[in-house]
């Protein structure tokens, strides 16, 4: 009773202010409106709007709280019931949300207990939330957990339908193979019966040995022999040359990684910048394989996958890969703590220049401003990364010949750029003209 009276009072003053702004002239209407509004809001103070509550929760609370899982702060489903069992009412929650450190300083027993339990990380004060906002949030937390029965059903249906499609494909292929086999057998038996017929009717079969075979003709004719020999030598030279020049080229190399990291999901769907994880590409020779703490920047919050799936890569598969990451980083997801038992992940290197060629990422990424995709291809579309470019010397040189160097706003080198332009008689210098073809640039 006392509670509703208080909220009535607050609402009265709030609404009064609003109404004065609007400058309504009719006093009676104003009073009626106030009473009406106060009545409705005091009603909702009891119930709360869980839809509004959800958006408020996602905007303000979800940074540290989840509904069903411990995070930076405790799980919040049915928090009011839990607190009621501790003898704490909604007024306590209002006070706590608006300024938790004041509650802790006042010596509140439960507040101090929670504060110590969660590593003395004080909850951010939310003075901007009104009591009605908090009521809405509480209404959202009081909702029962939705059993994802419908989604499971549709998932099962979709997977079974996709399964059935692949199964039907296999059946069709099998049937075709069977038909083909039947055809071969039929033809063979037809040939056999025809021969038997011929024998029965004493028809002489054409004897194939009477003709001189092609290879004998060729051996007898010297000119043909030379032509064939030259053709044979040239074609084998062509194939040997092709084979030898692809040795050491790993274009298309697509190893299986210990943790299935999908660049398509991270860089493509979520649009995370390449340099977010490969941060040392900006400043060092190597592009940098991120240490696991970089993964954990996001995966502390993202513990399951909710995006598109395929038959090969299901939700369970992706969730399992995230669990692999947790195991390697030593992260206990239930307790939201590091166990300290981490182990290195043995990633398989894909792009690997031979030791006798020097390549520096920062020179290309930061100085030249080359897009990562120029050499690595459409990585943001790759579920499993493969080597896009051949990484041969010819490929490097070709790019150096074609790429115009951006010499703008580079005051320190203005003079030498001008002289080089004069020397080559061009407006725009290419990387090759700046010395990008010198042997010693890459081989030393």
């Amino acid at each position: 009773m006392k509670k509703s009276y208080q909220s009535l009072e607050v609402n009265l003053t709030n609404n009064m202010r609003k109404v004065i702004h609007r400058k309504l002239s009719i006093n009676i209407l104003r009073l009626g409106l106030i009473i009406l509004l106060a009545f409705t809001t005091s009603l909702s103070a009891q119930e709360g709007d869980s839809v509004k509550g959800k958006s408020l929760f996602n905007a303000n609370c979800a940074a540290c709280h989840k509904l069903d899982k411990k995070m930076t702060g405790p799980a919040l489903r049915h928090v009011e019931v839990r607190l009621a069992s501790e003898g704490l009412d909604r007024e306590w929650i209002y006070a706590w949300v608006k300024n938790s450190s004041a509650v802790i300083k006042s010596g509140d027993a439960y507040g101090n207990k929670i504060y110590n339990e969660y590593g003395k990380a004080a909850m951010t004060p939310f003075p901007q939330l009104s009591n009605a906002d908090i009521d809405n949030i509480l209404a959202y937390t009081a909702e029962e957990k939705k059993v994802p029965a419908v989604s499971v059903d549709t998932a099962a249906v979709s997977s079974s339908s996709s399964d059935s499609s692949s199964v039907s494909n296999e059946i069709i292929l099998g049937a075709l193979a069977f038909l083909f086999m039947l055809l071969v057998i039929a033809l063979y038996s037809v040939k056999k019966t025809l021969r038997r017929f011929a024998e029965v009717h004493n028809i002489e079969l054409e004897n194939s040995t009477e003709k001189t075979p092609l290879w004998k003709v060729i051996i007898k004719n010297q000119f043909l022999m030379i032509v064939v020999a030259i053709f044979f030598l040239l074609s084998s030279a062509y194939f040997i040359y092709g084979y030898l020049s692809q040795i050491g080229v790993d274009q298309g190399y697509q190893p299986v990684q210990p943790i299935h990291f999908s660049h398509k999901i991270h860089a493509g769907d979520n649009g995370i910048d390449c340099k977010y994880c490969h941060s040392s590409a900006r400043v060092s020779k190597t592009s940098g394989i991120p240490s696991l703490n970089v993964c954990m920047n996001c995966h502390k919050s993202v513990s399951d996958y909710n995006g598109e799936t395929t038959i090969e890569h299901s939700k369970e598969f992706y969730d399992g890969e995230i669990q692999k990451l947790y195991a390697a980083a030593g992260w206990d997801d239930a307790d939201q703590k590091y166990t300290g038992e981490s182990q290195p992940v043995k990633w398989v290197r894909i792009h690997n220049l031979p030791d006798f060629a020097y390549f520096n990422h920062s020179q290309h990424v930061t100085v030249a401003g080359v897009e990562c995709q120029k050499c690595h291809g459409p990585v943001e579309e790759m579920e499993v990364v493969y080597q896009h470019a051949p990484l041969t010397m010819g490929w490097c040189i070709n790019c150096h010949r074609e790429t115009d160097v951006n010499v703008k706003d580079n005051a320190y080198y203005t003079k030498i750029h001008e002289e080089l332009s004069k020397k080559y008689g061009v407006d725009k210098l290419t990387a090759a003209q700046m010395g990008g073809l010198e042997c010693g640039k890459c081989h030393y």
């Binding site: 940074a63 003075p127 790993d250 977010y276 941060s279 020779k285 920047n297 993202v302 030791d355």
Partner: protein
């Protein structure tokens, strides 16, 4: 007999063609010219845990790095919030660099405008990212730097992706975004 030879030849060709495996690297001409004799970055090495990437000896300080003495605690956060000031003066602040780095490392969650509406938030992967003009947090340059360095709550540390100077450039840019939001 002849047809058997033909079938064999076709089978050999098929096997040779299908042998190209993408999951294994190709042959090399002279492996000892290709493979480095020294340890390669992230390679295997003869250390107790078998990796080349070792932690520096405890207490060592890398050249050009200055230790950050404020602890990763609530007290440390409050101390930084009140006392820590940017070493960059107005001529050293480079908002272009700051923006570039911010958009790579922070914008994905905090939004390129700092309003807490980054791509991961819009796609509901990570929720509850506050806007920089949040009154309850009232961030200052010291608290921003402390948060980048140590992380806070669900946010991790960005100390290994940004060096000290870059962190302060990002701090300057965050303050600019905060000022823009408060307009």
């Amino acid at each position: 007999m002849k047809s058997l030879i033909k079938i064999l030849a076709i089978a050999v060709v098929l096997v040779v063609v299908s042998c190209k495996k993408d999951t294994a690297p190709n042959y090399q001409f002279m492996p000892n010219m290709y493979e480095s004799a020294g340890y390669e970055t992230y390679g295997e090495a003869a250390f107790p845990n078998g990796v080349e990437a070792q932690l520096p000896a405890q207490g060592s300080i890398a050249r050009g790095f200055i230790p950050f003495d404020i602890d990763n605690t609530t007290e440390g956060y409050n101390l930084a919030k009140e006392t820590l000031k940017s070493p960059l003066d107005s001529t050293q602040v480079d908002l272009v660099t700051g923006k570039e780095l911010y958009n790579i490392y922070c914008g994905i969650c905090h939004g390129n405008k700092g309003n807490g509406q980054g791509n991961l938030v819009k796609r509901e992967k990570i929720l509850g990212i506050p806007s920089y003009d949040d009154a309850g947090r009232a961030i200052t340059e010291g608290s921003i730097y402390h948060t980048i360095y140590h992380g806070k709550n669900a946010m991790g540390s960005y100390a290994n992706q940004l060096n000290e100077e870059e962190r302060w450039q990002v701090v300057s840019y965050v303050l600019k975004l905060k000022a823009d939001l408060e307009k």
